[in-house]
């Protein structure tokens, strides 16, 4: 008997007490927990909550009108010195218009990982944001690039639209596509491994800036 057959066989024997005609739905799962958050998706209250929660993780979060995004992007990146900045394909051109084109790398063709490691930072969009937990979600869609881009450089500027902000985790999962590789980012990289207290800054970007476009 191969391992697969044997493990499945063991499971069926172990579950001898489960009636043969029982269906998974017969085991009731009460979903009386809150499926939606404290504020409607995209509302000013949701946006404020997102900014507040991000700040508590040590990320900087700023509410910015659409027309000012380009200048804030340029200002945020200016702090990085002169190193190259990765801006993935699909990032809105009007948002990157104030960046020095000589500093911008596009990841086309794919940057070798060592070169990525020499980049000062990365600027992306997001797929969604969760206000109550201060979470940004990236799914590799336009303006977000592959997962390594937001991981290897030490600085990540993420631009998210107010309309993408939902209040709760359940709401976020309904708008996300599980077939895409997803990354949920809640603040800069951190650890609790030294005396169980939180310290920001380990392997992922140690600085996370967020612009919420209102």
């Amino acid at each position: 008997m191969n391992a697969r057959t044997e493990v499945l066989d063991r499971i069926r024997r172990a579950l001898a007490d489960v009636p043969a005609n029982e269906e998974p739905a017969d085991v009731s799962v009460p979903r009386s927990y809150a499926r939606s958050g404290p504020a409607p998706a995209g509302s000013p209250a949701a946006v404020d909550l997102l900014a507040e929660r991000l700040a508590e993780y040590g990320a900087s979060a700023r509410l910015v009108p659409e027309g000012d995004v380009a200048s804030y992007v340029a200002r945020s990146v200016a702090g990085l010195g002169t190193g190259p900045v990765v801006v993935p394909g699909g990032f809105p051109p009007e948002w990157r218009s104030a960046l020095d084109p000589d500093r911008v790398l596009s990841d086309v063709p794919r940057l070798p990982v060592a070169e990525l490691d020499r980049c000062g930072g990365v600027v992306t969009t997001a797929a969604a944001a969760v206000a109550s937990t201060g979470t940004l979600v990236l799914d590799g869609g336009p303006g977000q690039g592959r997962r390594a881009l937001t991981l290897v450089p030490d600085f990540h500027l993420c631009v998210v639209r107010a309309g993408q902000v939902v209040a709760s985790v359940p709401e976020a999962l309904t708008v996300l596509d599980p077939s895409r590789p997803l990354t949920f980012v809640s603040g800069p990289s951190a650890t609790s491994d030294i005396e169980l207290d939180r310290v920001e800054g380990v392997h992922g970007p140690r600085t996370l800036d967020v612009l919420i476009v209102i």
């Binding site: 069926r12 085991v27 951190a190 030294i194 380990v202 392997h203 992922g204």
Partner: protein
């Protein structure tokens, strides 16, 4: 049986006696568990629907476990359709063999690892080392344990028994042996220590071709794997290498994508006391132009089906490895993780290890007794595992097993004698008189400590106050002579 890491550990009471003498250890643990308890309480306190989430978390696991074969087959189908390869392992030995072979097939001699309980459980690093493959742990606490040639002592923070000064020493001493050394002027500021780890591991991440990970959840409906982490080492391992090998116990599956909404709320708040952990990665098979080109999923039984077969013990498979029960446990806080002789310490370890490994060794037989049954673990468990109930259930199993083996233990003889005495009032007063007298002869500072001879088995681990000079019934008879019943009055 499946656990190779702690072979030869003494039984819990013996190990506990040594651990309790280590005041550094007790200080480190008290500080760390105190910090995390406060953080967890705050994070849970602000979630108004916490009890509803717990109940949903429990019920979903019950649904999954009662139909585990169906969900595993669905998972296999979806992972395969998305470009992944699924492997099945009956036990630790088979799982090790599969992973070693998969690494060898890539031609690489080095792997980076994300923290994974199941790979510790199966002793994977030792098997890789035997095959000449270097495995680098990349989680900060795992790195501390690996560089210190130490054993993990906590599910979430394997180096919880080390304080910042000890971590600094380990880094300065050992980092250079395995790669980028620690900076010369390293102090014990946690930020500087984290930075030293970042520098030490970066070159390993950038050159790694193969990664080994665990998973936190697997979604049957979509074939999606989930890793919940903090530092970004998980993302490095899941994203940069060409080959990803994820090893998991068969109980990690959840039915639907929607079900993650429960666990992604329960886990971070229970585990690190955060609203959300810094990074959660989900992936489904392989994706062109993003991440590993090859994905292997190794599903391990390793005693889980034995656990599943016990309708009371089965609920332990609900565990999502948050470690909240360790952090609130008065026993764990005092004796630390090593005492439990398993990669799964604390209350959850006391109910998981004897089920996964069986109760053949004295160490495993002693684990269900490593608890005061205070119930704090049950209260904080995000998936409502009734740990005290399972502890009692396993205690009964151990006692039954010993009875079958016809081992008359002094404890059982004493209990039989006690039943005789307690059911006969005249014997009881005689015993009380003798006990009161005798105990004052051996007591020290008003307490009874270790007693001689066969009684030592009981008193080794229990102190008792000296019985009063006079028992209550003797005092009553002396001070209330009018209530004394006429001897042998017949009832009419």
């Amino acid at each position: 049986m499946s656990d190779t890491t702690f072979l030869g550990m003494p039984a819990f009471p013996v190990a506990a006696r040594d651990a309790l003498r280590d005041s550094q250890l007790r200080g480190n643990l008290a500080r760390a568990t105190g910090t995390i308890r406060t953080r967890r309480a705050a994070a849970v306190g602000e979630q108004d629907d916490w009890e509803e989430l717990r109940e949903a978390g429990r019920a979903l696991k019950e649904r999954t476990l009662r139909h585990l074969d169906r969900y595993l087959l669905q998972l296999e189908e979806k992972v395969t359709a998305a470009g992944g390869q699924v492997h099945w392992a009956r036990d630790a030995e088979e799982a090790r063999r599969i992973v070693v072979q998969l690494v060898q097939d890539t031609g690489e001699r080095e792997v980076v690892k994300v923290k994974s309980m199941v790979t510790q459980e199966i002793g994977l690093n030792e098997a890789l080392a035997e095959a000449g493959i270097d495995a680098y742990e990349t989680d900060l606490a795992e790195l501390i344990v690996q560089l210190g040639h130490d054993q993990p002592s906590h599910i979430l923070v394997p180096a919880i028994h080390r304080n910042r000064a000890e971590i600094r020493e380990i880094f300065l001493r050992s980092m250079g042996e395995y790669g980028t050394p620690a900076p010369a002027g390293l102090d014990d500021d946690p930020r500087r220590l984290a930075e030293a780890a970042r520098r030490h591991l970066r070159e390993k991440f950038l050159r790694a071709k193969v990664a080994v990970s665990g998973v936190n959840f697997l979604v049957a409906e979509t074939g999606t794997a989930v890793v919940v982490e903090s530092e970004g080492n998980g993302r490095m391992c899941l994203t940069l290498p060409e080959t990803l090998i994820s090893v998991t116990g068969i109980e990690k599956v959840v039915p639907t994508w929607q079900d993650l909404e429960v666990y992604l709320q329960l886990l971070p708040r229970s585990s690190t006391g955060e609203r959300m952990n810094p990074y959660t990665s989900t992936w489904t098979g392989t994706t062109a132009e993003d991440g590993p080109r090859t994905f292997h999923l190794v599903l391990v039984d390793g005693g889980r089906t034995d656990t599943l077969a016990d309708p009371v013990g089965r609920q332990v498979l609900n565990c999502i490895r948050c470690s909240a029960c360790l952090n609130v446990c008065p026993v764990y806080e005092r004796v630390g993780g090593h005492t439990y002789g398993s990669v799964y310490p604390g209350p959850i370890g006391a109910v998981l290890s004897p089920q996964l490994r069986g109760t053949d060794s004295e160490a495993d037989r002693s684990l269900p007794f490593a608890s005061s049954l205070c119930g704090a673990c049950y209260e904080v468990c995000p998936v409502k595992i009734d740990i005290p109930r399972v502890l009692l259930h396993l205690r009964a199993r151990v006692v039954e097993q010993e009875r079958e083996r016809r081992l008359p233990k002094p404890e059982r003889l004493a209990m039989t004698a006690a039943r005789w005495v307690l059911t006969r009032p005249s014997w009881l007063s005689a015993a009380q008189r003798a006990g009161g007298l005798g105990s004052r002869l051996v007591a020290r500072r008003g307490r009874l400590g270790r007693l001689p001879g066969p009684l030592s088995r009981w008193t080794d681990t229990r102190d008792a106050p000296v019985p009063a000079a006079e028992s209550f019934s003797a005092w009553w008879r002396r001070t209330h002579p009018e209530t004394r019943r006429p001897a042998r009055r017949r009832q009419s």
